[in-house]
Symmetry: C2
Subunit: 700 residues, 2 copies
């Protein structure tokens, strides 16, 4: 049942997933039980892949590449973790090795639900809850969290075993039947630790609920505490009624096209942009082979990792650091986006297929939505001599995916515009992972968080994101990374007599490492091609990186938070390209201990850039926020937005959006609310250096 080699970038199909898991099962005795964690495409070596893609673009028949799957699995109810490679084309297992110790696979949805259930049935947990004397009928729920690492008990259970730390809450005692009530408004001080092998509770942590680390014996829950619901039907004052519909009409349809390059892989074309979209368990949406007007830009773009370390030093919060991609998976947690809810306008949905814990192919419908949006004016100029204005609006193509990781949501989007920019946008929303606080401390400033509700603390935490960019700006072979700075010139009677002069310096990055922004020097990182020059001004063609500065990780360099989040200490990492170096925090982040990830790879001190006798770089862009919660962030958080923009610099010969038709009423059908609509007629003039119909904003 060997599969014919389809496109090397196509996400694994249902039959390939079945084939891969069957191949693994065939390695083991009949009746062996498995817990499959990851069944995903193993991408071909870049050199092979690039030849394939170049042949494909040139219209030649590409040399077929074997399809391979990486399969990560446990023998069920054991800690025996394996990583295997199945060659689907040759229908054989190429490798199958047991991993560990101290390497743990991510959690999976089935497991998390099962652990919540069994943990709540544990007699010790029941006894602990009983001590809280909760109101009759109260429903207790739990968010099982990945356990994290603290280096304590090295080699003992806490590092050796794969564990879950459960955070307990209750539903509003006065409304226990409301399944969608916000239990985060009722955190409980009990935190059982569960062994993922047998789902047994191995320890019950009691949380500190004061201002310091003191842990008090469990006592009767202090109430009453009001609810704080986010569901619309529970809003005390009802919903506002004066927000009128705003709809996007695209009478001629969308401007983009979607075609399939494999059973599940899609090729998107829009306004000179051209790229492939993939989807997998770990990264979710991936972009490949991005071109503009036929010119190569990026070989591969993806969100490579995320780390969310918390700042509360008290046990058990001190271990709290989520790696949502490595610990769970951006694909595994991708929402099923639905029409009218997550996008506006004319929308195309891409669906995915992933393996469940039994290795069965499972539909992930509508994990990516694609639509266009207007984003205001892109450029305008009015000639004050003729009063002729030329106005061009910006249009953006958005590919959006939304993750739900237990309490929290990430809205992730790639955004392409008409001027050659690519922007990666993160909207952080969802619900704070709250912790219990003594009710009488509600009005007291807390050292480790913000009080967001009576008896509820929203702990301080940082969010770090790492974007992986595999560039081919202007073509492969001479990719390099430089940073440009602006510096004042010294006063000089001849050169700078008035002290106003400044100039720029450009510094190539010749060695792999971590680099930082420097606002004071306007430091800007650029991906350039030293072998391709701008035809007009002879500058190397390039793309610059607009990334907001971030406060790097506050946990100290010896801490496990810092060791594990290998990307959270620099805005920019540059490494030499190497196969299988895709994830900034390493392949296995669950209870990781550091030593693998972008910091380690960068520490090889590889030469970067052919002109430096080095090789082509991979660029890792880090950004984030220190989330000091506001009470306004509860019970659900208005999104905080972060953007990274890749912008052409001397890549084109002139503004690439000059050929965008002017904004005009014929196309836009706007509505004037105070009679101004009438004046448009006057503004219509004929051809020949004069405004086109409606395309003007004349100054009288």
């Amino acid at each position: 049942m060997a599969s014919s080699p389809s496109h090397p970038l196509g996400p694994l199909t249902k039959s390939e997933i079945s084939q891969a898991t069957a191949l693994i099962k065939s390695q083991w005795p009949e009746g062996t039980k498995f817990q499959f964690k990851i069944v995903t495409l193993l991408e071909a070596p870049k050199d092979e892949l690039v030849l394939y893609l170049e042949a494909e673009r040139a219209g030649r028949t590409p040399k077929p590449i074997d399809r391979k799957a990486t399969v990560v699995y446990y023998l069920r109810n054991t800690d025996k973790l394996h990583e295997a490679v199945a060659n689907l084309t040759k229908n054989k297992v190429e490798s199958n090795a047991r991993l560990g110790p101290f390497i743990h696979a991510p959690g999976d949805a089935e497991e998390i639900v099962a652990i919540e259930k069994s943990m709540l049935e544990d007699e010790g947990v029941k006894a602990a809850i009983a001590k809280l004397q909760l109101p009759a009928g109260t429903v207790v729920v739990a968010d099982p969290w990945i356990y994290g690492s603290d280096g304590v008990h090295e080699g003992e259970f806490s590092d050796h075993k794969r564990l879950m730390q459960c955070f307990l809450y209750m539903r509003d005692p006065n409304n226990s039947s409301a399944e969608d009530g916000c239990h985060y408004a009722f955190p409980l001080p009990i935190s059982p630790v569960v062994d993922c092998v047998d789902h047994k509770v191995i320890r019950i942590d009691i949380m500190p609920t004061g201002l310091d680390g003191t842990v008090k014996p469990l006592k009767a829950w202090q109430g009453p505490v009001p609810p704080n619901e986010y569901v619309p039907e529970a809003q005390p004052g009802g919903l506002r009624k004066d927000l009128k519909p705003l709809q996007v009409a695209q009478p001629e349809g969308a401007s983009f096209s979607v075609s399939s390059f494999s059973e599940l892989g899609k090729t998107i074309k829009w306004q000179k942009w051209d790229f492939k979209v993939g989807f997998n368990q770990r990264e979710g949406m991936i972009l490949y082979d991005v071109h503009y007007d036929g010119r190569p830009l990026f070989h591969r773009l993806s969100l490579s990792d995320m780390a969310i370390p918390y700042g509360d030093p008290r046990h058990p919060f001190h271990k709290k650091q989520a790696f949502d991609l490595g610990d769970v998976g951006a694909g595994a947690t991708a929402n099923n986006l639905s029409l009218g809810c997550d996008c506006l306008g004319s929308i195309y949905y891409i669906s995915g297929v992933l393996a469940d814990d039994e290795g069965r192919p499972t539909d992930f419908p509508n994990v990516i939505c694609i639509h266009e949006q207007d984003s205001g004016l892109l450029w305008k100029h009015t000639n004050y001599r003729t009063n002729r204005a030329v106005v061009v609006r910006n249009r953006e193509l958005v590919l959006q995916s939304i993750l739900t990781v237990s309490n929290y949501e990430y809205i992730l989007a790639w955004n392409f515009n008409l001027a050659g920019d690519i922007t990666y946008e993160v909207r952080a929303t969802g619900i704070l992972s709250t912790q219990p606080l003594d009710l009488d401390l509600t009005t007291t400033k807390h050292p480790y968080g913000t009080v967001v509700h009576p008896g509820v603390l929203g702990g301080y935490h940082q969010h770090f994101f790492s974007l992986r960019i595999d560039p081919m700006v202007g073509g492969r072979g001479n990719q390099s990374v430089v940073y440009e700075e602006a510096h004042a010139l010294p006063r000089d009677p001849k050169i700078n007599p008035h002290g106003v002069g400044y100039t720029t310096t450009t510094t190539p990055i010749t060695t792999s490492g971590g680099y930082d922004l420097d606002v004071a020097s306007n430091r800007t990182f650029k991906m350039v091609n030293t072998g391709v020059r701008n035809a007009i001004n002879n500058a190397c063609v390039g793309y610059k990186i607009h990334v907001p500065p971030m406060q790097t990780m506050l946990a100290d360099a010896e801490s496990y938070h810092h060791k594990r989040a290998e990307f959270a200490d620099h805005n920019i990492y540059v490494t030499k390209y190497a196969e299988n170096e895709l994830f900034a925090g390493g392949y296995y982040t669950n209870q990781s201990r550091g030593g693998t990830g972008v910091r380690s790879w960068a520490n090889r001190k590889d030469r970067i850039g052919r002109e430096n006798g080095g090789e082509e770089p991979v660029v890792w862009v880090q950004f984030g926020i220190n989330h000091i919660p506001r009470i306004e962030d509860f019970p659900v958080m208005p999104m905080e937005m972060l953007k990274v923009t890749l912008r052409p610099v001397n890549f084109f010969d002139r503004n690439p959006a000059l050929d965008v038709p002017s904004s005009n009423q014929e196309m836009n059908h706007s509505v004037g609310l105070n009679g101004v609509v009438d004046s448009v007629a006057e503004l219509k003039v004929g051809e020949g250096g004069k405004p086109e119909a409606g395309a003007c904003c004349s100054k009288l």
Copy 2:
């Protein structure tokens, strides 16, 4: 003809402008000629104004306040500058003083056109142009620029006289009749200096066109140079035809209301927001008395100043620094916005009235456009236990104004959202003020700019903006400014044994001065009310300021660029409120020499904040970019966006957007492009903790 006292914040009406200029003229002998520069509302002292506004809100009859106008004028064809105050209610001139020396009024449109014309007729200029031996029929055009200051010839003409420095260009010699051709692609090395009193050319500067300051004798223009046009009909490849219409439909109309609080002043109400809009010559759009849900937030919001210093140290470029508000005026240069061009959707336009140089009231139609826009998701959460998702879209109210200042455009907008945020957005676009370069240096890196076209240099320059915020967060009386930082805790066996802990510190600003962001400590500035506490967590209610870090001015502290731009050295200035301190660079910026503006006011070292024994603050927020031109920024620049957001912090008790109806297909009428539309029906479920019709994004 005294005018009955209308609302104290109403922009001057046509009759008030006529009355004010008539009152001034009555001070002078019959037949005196005037050049009016500014005829604008003199706002009442804040204490009087606040009593008026409070009475108005309380439904009481406010105590009338005299209407007054500030009138700035020259006796025509002299350097005799006067500043007068006309009391329109009492119909008398309260003061009328001559200003100067070294104080100069802004340029005006009539003057700039007249100077271009007379300068080009100057025999000396003609002789200089003749030396260029331009192709027959070439049309030369000029951008007269404000002269700037360099401190040379102190007390002599260059500071004493009001001058214009003219930059010369030609239209494409092969297409001289195209009035809207981009002459910035053909800069000429001749720069005449004109006296604004008699419009005589007093000097002809020849520009350096090499890599250093060497000025070569004028010689025959070197060509050929291709054109580089931005007008649509001149695009070599024609316009792209595959961008399909995207329209905004608001079938039930807009959600905002507009009413008049005076003949020209408007009150806007939208989604619990409520504020007044004014318009004047200097600041353009101004917001007053901003409230949310009846709670006071900001007394006055406006862009207070702008400075654009250039980094080329060579004469005459070393003086090049534009203060577009003080040197010309954001109102005076406001575009007439037209339907279908500058906004999308259902649009309301506000028009203004300003005085021309003869003091005549002049219509400025459609200077502000108001519309709503969708801006994606505001918040979302999916309960993974029930798979119920609740999704709320963000809606924004946008008030936009666009300035054309000779070659350049600024798109300025105030943006209100559903979660209590106010964002000020700047889009910088338009055309670079180019300078000539020896054609054979086109492919050489230049120390002071980017080559954007053969023989054309786009000089490095910085943009600085200063936003003035007069806060009343939660009410007047106890306004204070603090900054919050996040700091790692030291390792400590008891308190922070794992090195992961961090906490926040809050520092009140007790003295007026300049303050800076500090990314390393996550420093965040907040406007707080020390007299009003959050009902839940007892924190002072406040609004924080999200402002991007900027590279401060590169010109040294002794330079005139630095002395004049009193706001370009710190992200934040805090001053004690004082009447008539509205403009960060001082009232008269044209050829200014510093010594007036926010830096000088801050240097009073006033106590700030009542609890510090001080008074209420005014907050000045600075932001900007160092514009290192890309060749893509020519011939017209894709906009660069800057945003400053004011966001509630513990001002509300919970997310203020919880009562926004969920995003749903009934309201949004989105269109599914691949059959997904059918699945929406399935998602509709009844009441009671279950998804409302269409308002869901269930995860299967």
